[in-house]
């Protein structure tokens, strides 16, 4: 594909813990395209953050990438040295995290932290770096950017801090932006501002975005392509419209039916019985089987693979 920027191919990231091996990410594949947003959605613990940390090569101990490839511009990130990876991280591929406070250092001013990023990655002089910093803060809509650059993270509101993080992430013109729950910690009116900002910036700068969230509303609002993750695997993927209007996997169907809707009067919510299995104790066969109302004997014997439904709409379910 001419527009593909980053391709994750059969990624396996496991955690070797005292209670066994957690197959947090277990054979995940997808492609990010230039100027497009790829939405990764799923419930807590399904492996969304580990997927993004794997791409950044920041998987914490005791986790390890055990298999697969992450192709970025003809290079496989999985096999790069730490030094080579450091060049790519924050430069070609940038990431914004859920909790704005953790990605800013409280003892330095916001401006200084962005200055450092652009000096390190773009080799700019001090004054040029500051110029770039102010330009970025302006771009993300922070009022009085010159003055704000001299403030410390705690002097800003949650929404303003997230703007600073976005400014820092975008300061080196990354080709890929990974946004892991970028608005989860924010109030809805501020969330709307930040999602709007990300969309504007993507249009202006043309980067590929990997948007990770548990909120189906945000996915519907922002993603072009969607992948639904369950217990370490992608169970359904396709264009946003197909996922929301023609979901084929029982888990996707259940998730959509369990969200209360503002625009539709739903009398009683549908629920998915049971809970997500623990990553150290995934059942064999289909990992959704214990909660699935369509389960059949084959489901517990053989793991369903992603099969094409139509175009690039795929689902991993024996009954679909």
């Amino acid at each position: 594909m001419p527009n593909s920027v980053l391709t994750v191919d059969n990624l396996q990231t496991h955690f070797h813990t005292d209670s066994g091996t957690a197959r947090a990410v277990d054979g995940v594949s997808f492609t990010l395209n230039k100027g497009k947003t790829y939405g990764l959605v799923g419930e807590s613990g399904c492996g969304k953050s580990v997927t993004s940390l794997s791409i950044m090569r920041l998987v914490p101990h005791p986790g390890r990438i055990e298999g697969g490839h992450i192709f970025f511009e003809d290079r496989d990130l999985v096999s790069l040295s730490d030094t080579e990876m450091r060049d790519i991280r924050g430069n070609d591929i940038a990431m914004i995290f859920q909790e704005p406070m953790t990605s800013l250092n409280p003892v330095y001013t916001c401006g200084f932290q962005i200055d450092e990023a652009v000096r390190r990655h773009q080799g700019l002089e001090k004054t040029e770096a500051r110029k770039k910093t102010v330009e970025m803060l302006h771009l993300v809509g922070l009022p009085d950017p010159e003055q704000r650059a001299n403030e410390y993270p705690h002097q800003l509101s949650g929404g303003q801090r997230q703007r600073v993080i976005i400014a820092m992430a975008l300061s080196c013109n990354p080709k890929v932006l990974i946004a892991d729950e970028p608005t989860t910690a924010l109030d809805v009116t501020i969330q709307a501002q930040i999602l709007d900002l990300l969309r504007d910036l993507q249009q202006q700068l043309g980067m590929a975005v990997l948007l990770i969230t548990h909120d189906l509303g945000i996915i519907a609002e922002a993603a072009d392509q969607v992948a639904v993750m369950y217990a370490g695997k992608i169970v359904e993927t396709g264009p946003a419209d197909a996922i929301f209007h023609n979901p084929r996997h029982p888990y996707t169907q259940g998730l959509l039916a369990s969200v209360p809707r503002l625009d539709i009067a739903n009398k009683r919510l549908r629920t998915i019985p049971g809970t997500v299995p623990e990553a150290t104790r995934f059942p064999s066969g289909c990992r959704f089987a214990d909660r699935c109302e369509k389960v059949d004997s084959i489901c517990r014997e053989t793991t369903p693979q992603l099969q094409t439904i139509d175009g690039d709409h795929q689902t991993a379910c024996w009954m679909a």
Partner: protein, 316 residues
């Protein structure tokens, strides 16, 4: 009327400097009034820090209100003595957002559920089994400890604990905010079933309007310590009148890619209740603000029976 809240205020002093002098006040709850009928659910929504939790806690006297009255079945709660208050607490319970933090980690589930029972002398063991059944858990779990349960299961235990004393009124403070969607739906349905079964009334506090609309008969929208709009749920969503309610509704992403776009996006941040803007507190962010709005404090007035709004443009 089961519960009647009138002109409830809770101001926190701000002390600063070496001598801890009072340098101002946080008007966390500033003149809030509403009522709740038997069997009714009133939703209370608003963004972080607007005063939802403070309102709930002041009603139960978990904190002392600055002024106002709270009547529960015509008893004025705020003027009760300790003993009378304890008797009344049997009828009013609270469920918290963080089911883990609110369960004593050293007690078994059985211990947690029988704790409130002991005070009121009941046949403890049967009642515990009964309670666990009611919230969809097996009576076997009574011997286990809170850390052995998932978030959704812990929330069920929190609900069972609240039900232990057979209350008539439950304040649910963000009971599903920490849960995954599929689990959230289980808890929302459970709360609705319990309401039908026991005729419970709820004050349902949340920042998620979709959940609130789903579960509530009426909804009150709060902004900086005040209710800015109150109406039947359907009416509020179909015919929102306060500019803040409209913006809030339009900020919520709809899980349907075919209805993307065209949203009212508020500029600016939620101001702190330490520095409440003059006049209408919403005026610095209000897309409809007029010069008058910076001076006149809008009151919460009925614009139709059962639908009240605090905005000067909607009055007269």
């Amino acid at each position: 009327m089961l519960l009647q809240v009138q002109n409830l205020k809770k101001y926190y002093p701000i002390s600063q400097g070496l001598w801890g002098r009072n340098t101002g006040q946080v008007k966390a709850v500033d003149d809030v009034s509403f009522d709740i009928s038997p069997g009714e659910t009133l939703g209370l929504v608003g963004e972080s820090g607007c005063g939802k939790t403070t309102t709930g806690r002041a009603i139960l006297r978990l904190i002392d209100a600055t002024s106002g009255t709270v009547r529960f079945k015509n008893t004025d709660i705020l003027s009760l003595g300790k003993k009378q208050l304890r008797a009344l607490r049997q009828h009013m319970q609270i469920i918290f957002q963080d089911p883990y933090g609110s369960l004593n980690p050293r007690l078994t589930i059985g211990g947690i559920l029988s704790e409130p029972l002991k005070i009121h002398g009941d046949k403890t063991k049967d009642r515990v089994a009964d309670l666990l059944n009611t919230v969809g858990l097996s009576p076997d779990v009574a011997r286990r400890y809170p850390h052995e349960f998932s978030g959704g299961q812990r929330q069920r235990i929190g609900i069972a604990r609240a039900l232990a004393v057979k209350p008539q009124f439950i304040i649910a403070d963000e009971p599903v905010s920490a849960l995954d969607v599929s689990i959230q739906a289980q808890i929302v349905n459970l709360l609705q079933d319990l309401q039908a079964q026991f005729g419970l009334s709820y004050l349902f506090i949340a920042h998620d309007l979709s959940v609130v609309k789903h579960i509530s008969n009426r909804v009150a929208v709060m902004y900086l310590g005040k209710i800015v709009e109150l109406a039947e749920s359907q009416e509020l969503y179909e015919n929102p009148q306060h500019p803040y309610t409209r913006a809030l509704l339009s900020s919520i992403p709809i899980p349907d890619p075919r209805v993307r776009g065209s949203r009212t996006i508020l500029t600016g941040d939620v101001p702190s209740p330490v520095n409440v803007p003059s006049g209408c507190a919403f005026h610095p962010r209000c897309p409809e603000a007029t010069p008058d709005c910076a001076h006149r404090k809008p009151e919460l007035l009925d614009i139709e029976p059962g639908h009240s709004v605090a905005c000067i443009l909607r009055h007269n």
